[in-house]
Amino acid sequence: MNKGLNSWNHKHATRHFIVQRITAILNIPLSIFLLYLIFNLPTMTYNNIIDLFQKPLVTILTIFLILNFSFHMKLGMQTVIEDYVHDKKNFKIASLLNNLVASIVIIGSTYSIVVIFLMD
């Protein structure tokens, strides 16, 4: 346990709190959209699913869902890391991994959504 541990986050604590709440509230309608997808996609064929994801509204909602969920989960995991990882080096590695996972999910998913949108 080192002096000044986690200090880089103290400056951002208020922003963390606010973004956590904003994404939390926006996650409620986006979750309903996700539940709509979970309810309907299993009985749809591949072509029907592609048609659905090529509707501009669905494309925009899916990108927004990915962004909002990813930011919320990143902040949540950051809090868990701050609570349980006390070694400074491990803390930095865990935080870096957390950012990496969120970035991969955001970039990879958005790329896939754009590819699907541009399909014939």
């Binding site: 409620i28 299993p42 591949y46 072509n47 969920f69 995991m77 990879g108 896939s112 959504i113 699907i116």
Partner: protein, 128 residues
């Protein structure tokens, strides 16, 4: 030694609100990995029908179904728990009775919403 560290969990008497606090973290953590599944789903869709079929077949196994039901439960539970936190953020519901009531409501509500979701899924879409 700057950070305050919580005493070991075992010294606490079991309480529903403590359990729901832990469950909020566990369901949040579970959905962290569920996001990877959503990412793989979109990736499979973009790769083509063959890849999507593999994804679809894997999810239709009983393990896949178990994971999917688990994710919806985690989503409902975490959502209700989150609403509880938003109520607290507005400096409401801090008396002990309300705390216990909200904790029980989010536990039972999450289970009921999950059952309602999958029962209506079976009614509309059939079992297979």
């Amino acid at each position: 030694m700057n950070n305050p560290i919580s005493p070991h969990l075992s010294i606490y008497k079991f309480k529903i609100n403590m359990m729901m606090s832990i469950a909020h973290r566990i369901t949040g953590g579970a959905m962290y990995f569920a996001m990877l599944l959503l990412f793989i789903f979109l990736l499979a869709l973009s790769f083509g029908g063959g890849f999507y079929n593999v994804f679809s077949i894997l999810l239709s196994t009983w393990i896949g179904n178990f994971i999917l039901v688990g994710i919806t439960w985690a989503l409902f539970h975490h959502m209700l728990g989150g609403i509880r936190h938003i109520i607290w953020d507005n400096v409401k519901g801090f008396d002990l009775n309300t705390i216990d009531l909200l904790a029980s409501a989010s536990l039972i509500g999450g289970i009921i919403l999950t059952i309602l979701f999958w029962v209506s899924y079976i009614i509309f879409n059939g079992l297979f």
